[in-house]
């Protein structure tokens, strides 16, 4: 990699592109260790070769020609961060750079392929200046929460109806039972046969074995 750096510092003999013209170039930044952790690969000359090939591929896909080759992708200023600048030269005239917008469109179109070639994502293989195209989250036709809501409400309403009807039925049954002879002494319910009456001899309903009130 240091050899490459040295090489890049020497002015190339052929097809010299003036790299002080960074206008049409893009800076690329890779975060391999962040993305892959222990399985991170070493960034070396071969990886750079692959990179240039993928960019050439992207240009080919976009322009729908087979004109672009590896030599059309020129890389400069590699750093240890693993970041560098690249420009794309036109296949007809190596001294001329391809417009920034064209490059951007090409890369956006093939972004997924480029990322996958390096096992990276939009965040870890950054093209500074090219916004990533975000995948829209999948939204199903019926929001799932409505479905759950419907289920719960259905169960609850069924429960209410069931309980109310059983109350009504019980009350009707209770009324019918009351129509049976009521001549019995209402105080018969108490265990010890003591009638609970207050001073005035009025029977206190509270102590009868009356089932009118809430049953457990």
């Amino acid at each position: 990699m240091f050899g490459l750096l040295l090489l890049l510092c020497l002015p190339p003999a052929l097809g010299a592109v003036d790299f002080s013209d960074y206008e049409n170039g893009y800076q690329v930044r890779l975060s391999i260790k962040t993305a892959l952790g222990d399985e991170a690969y070493e960034w070396n000359e071969s990886e750079m070769f692959l990179f240039r090939a993928t960019i050439a591929f992207a240009m080919r896909q976009f322009t729908k020609t087979e004109a672009y080759g590896i030599d059309n992708i020129v890389v400069r200023n590699q750093t240890q961060r693993v970041s560098f600048w690249f420009i794309v030269t036109s296949p007809e005239n190596p001294a001329q750079t391809v417009e920034k917008e064209t490059v951007e469109k090409a890369i956006r179109r093939s972004r997924n392929r480029i990322n996958n070639a390096f096992l990276l994502t939009d965040k870890t293989l950054e093209f500074l200046g090219i916004p990533p195209t975000l995948a829209a989250p999948i939204s199903p036709a019926t929001p799932p929460w409505l479905i759950v809501f419907g289920v719960v409400i259905g169960l609850v309403c069924a429960g209410i109806v069931a309980l109310l009807t059983s109350s009504v039925v019980k009350r009707r049954r209770g009324n019918k039972a009351k129509q049976l002879p009521e001549e019995e002494d209402p105080a018969k319910g108490t265990d010890k046969g003591i009638t609970c009456e207050d001073r005035n001899g009025v029977y206190n309903q509270g102590f009868s074995d009356d089932d009118r009130l809430t049953q457990l």
């Binding site: 260790k33 989250p137 809501f149 265990d191 010890k192 003591i194 207050d198």
Partner: protein
């Protein structure tokens, strides 16, 4: 926040009881007879019933305090005032309410009316508080249900920000805060910027509210009969889920820092009277004291039931549950804080790497500080330009742990970082739902029974209709909270509808029993019921310590609130800054 006890419900469900006694017109002989009858009835239906009830009394304790914990600020310093006030305030008042209900055998209105006709107002006040609190509390349950409904999808909706129209970037409000905040403030509440701006009814919240009230109605339909059965689930499930979360929480990275934070006393906070007020209010809420529910429930108990023992044991279990729940919650909070801290630090490290083109891995957590200082020495200009935020784990630990934010923001954020998030989310919200529901049982009982006692509605109205009436009216009023500004209204109710009235009612109750009814008469009653006079601890607390404590807290609170300007926390997307993860502004 009100949290009501449900152990009373359980105890009743198992006492083979079929009467609701009204105290007026009671003759002592009948009382004696009837209590014997009760004993015989109980023993005939089995020691089984007795044992079962005792068992449930002790095993299924007051669950609801954890929800109160979740709702209020629970910093490290809170534990100490809470535990102190639990012993000095909670236990005496609990014993008092049990004893008075058991002896005078009526709902709250009847009890106070029989002590002195003028004191009926205390009972009515309890009813009003129970009604008001129940009304706004069920809205929180509606929110819990909304999150529960939304938990049945992977990935969870609050884990991602929605995209804007061009699909180039996420929605700006979401990008500036976080996906969890955005989901809470925008997609759930759709908050308006201030309380004056109503924002209209949010239909999805109305639906959740309908659901919450109908579930409550189904459980309280026939009063104690249906509630007693519902409580089996609502009491045991939270414990199970809490234990699962404890195991999960302790295995996460950073959980210990959360637990340490929980138990670290903060002396400044201890000096602040607001902490003591919150702790006192929390004790009231967790026992559902002064709401009328306890008196009503204990009136169903046999007259010779040992209410003293019950009060002590329930308090102990309640205290234990609060601490247990707090540990679980704070282990998760610790995890979340650690994750945020790591993210913050990694962000800074990345910025440094990018700016100075250093190889990856050259800066990590251990040498971050020295590297930063070195670089700052060599090129301070660049460092300034980067605008790095200082990452402090203590800040992250104290963030977002208050109010509804704890459950709906902090916890949901922690959940999305765990693997298999939908499962944890479903479990968590079911637990919250059960806790909240058991609170509501006490609230409904506290509202409905006094209505029956006061004979406001005709006697032939069945209990189902009465409960339905209460639920319907509460739902109607609670539609306020379904508006865009509903969150602010709820905070208002939360802050003022519960704490002060409860304190006042509690104070009046203690004064009424100690001085109007007469502490000696009360002691004799308790001796009649459980066989021995209450000991010195009870005497001291009932006569002096507890009322004094309540009075002092109340005075301090009035003092501090009256002097400061009233503010509320609002969410205003236009003012959101890019630095803080939580965008809470005072307006």
């Amino acid at each position: 926040m009100i949290t009501f006890s449900n152990e009373c419900i359980l105890s009743l469900a198992h006492y083979h009881l079929d009467k609701h006694f009204h105290l007026l017109g009671l003759c002592k002989l009948c009382f004696q007879v009837h209590s014997n009858k009760q004993h015989s009835k109980m023993s005939s239906s089995g020691l089984h019933t007795n044992a079962l009830s005792a068992q449930y009394f002790y095993i299924a304790p007051l669950m609801v305090s954890p929800l109160g914990v979740i709702q209020t600020v629970f910093p490290g310093a809170f534990m100490i005032p809470f535990l102190i006030l639990l012993v000095l305030e909670g236990i005496p008042l609990l014993h008092l309410e049990f004893a008075i209900g058991q002896r005078l055998r009526s709902g709250s209105v009847g009890v106070w009316r029989s002590i002195h006709p003028c004191l009926a107002g205390v009972g009515i006040a309890s009813m009003m508080v129970a009604f008001t609190v129940g009304m706004y509390y069920n809205t929180i349950i509606a929110w819990v249900m909304w999150y529960f409904f939304n938990s049945f999808q992977d990935p969870l909706p609050w884990s991602q920000c929605p995209l804007n129209e061009n699909s180039t970037d996420v929605v700006s409000e979401c990008a500036r805060s976080s996906s969890v905040d955005y989901f809470w403030y925008r997609e759930t509440l759709n908050t308006s910027a201030s309380i004056e701006d109503s924002g209209g009814l949010q239909w999805w919240i109305v639906l959740s509210l309908v659901c919450a009230w109908t579930v409550l109605y189904v459980c309280c339909l026939r009063g104690i009969e249906t509630t007693g059965k519902a409580v089996y689930i609502t009491s045991t499930l939270p414990y199970v889920v809490l234990t699962i979360f404890l195991v999960r929480g302790l295995t996460l990275k950073g959980s210990t820092s959360g637990i340490i934070y929980l138990f670290t006393p903060n002396l400044e906070e201890l000096m602040n009277p607001k902490t003591w007020l919150d702790a006192g209010a929390q004790v009231f809420y967790s026992f559902s004291l002064a709401s009328g529910g306890l008196i009503s429930f204990s009136s169903y108990n046999s007259v010779h039931n040992n209410c003293e023992q019950d009060a002590v044991i329930i308090s102990v279990i309640n205290g234990f549950t609060s601490v247990y729940a707090a540990i679980v919650i704070y282990s998760i909070i610790g995890f979340r804080a650690t994750e945020s801290f790591d993210a913050c630090l990694n962000g800074n490290i990345l910025a440094l790497l990018n700016a100075f083109d250093l190889p990856e891995g050259s800066i990590n957590e251990s040498n971050y500080e020295e590297t930063l200082n070195r670089l700052n020495g060599t090129s301070p200009g660049i460092i300034q330009g980067l605008d790095l935020t200082t990452c402090n784990i203590q800040t992250f630990l104290s963030q977002g742990v208050e109010g509804t934010g704890l459950a709906f923001i902090a916890f949901t954020e922690a959940i999305i970082k765990m693997p298999a998030s939908p499962v944890w989310s479903v479990l968590f919200f079911i637990m919250l739902f059960c806790l909240g529901l058991s609170t509501m049982f006490g609230s409904i009982e506290g509202s409905v029974v006094p209505l029956q006692d006061l004979n406001i509605f005709p006697k032939w109205w069945p209990k189902e209709a009465l409960t339905g009436m209460v639920c319907l009216v509460s739902f109607g009023i609670a539609l306020i909270f379904a508006q865009g500004s509903g969150n602010y209204w709820l905070a208002l109710f939360d802050g003022y509808a519960g704490s002060i009235p409860l304190l006042i009612v509690g104070f009046c109750e203690m004064m009424a029993v100690s001085y109007v009814y007469g502490i000696d008469r009360f002691n004799k009653d308790i001796e009649f019921m459980i066989g021995h006079k209450p000991n010195f601890f009870w005497q001291a607390t009932w006569r002096v310590i507890s009322p004094l404590l309540v009075f002092v807290i109340f005075v301090f609170y009035l003092g501090t609130t009256a002097t400061k300007e009233l503010t509320y926390i609002a969410w205003n997307p236009e003012w959101v800054k890019t630095i803080l993860p939580q965008y809470l502004l005072n307006s």
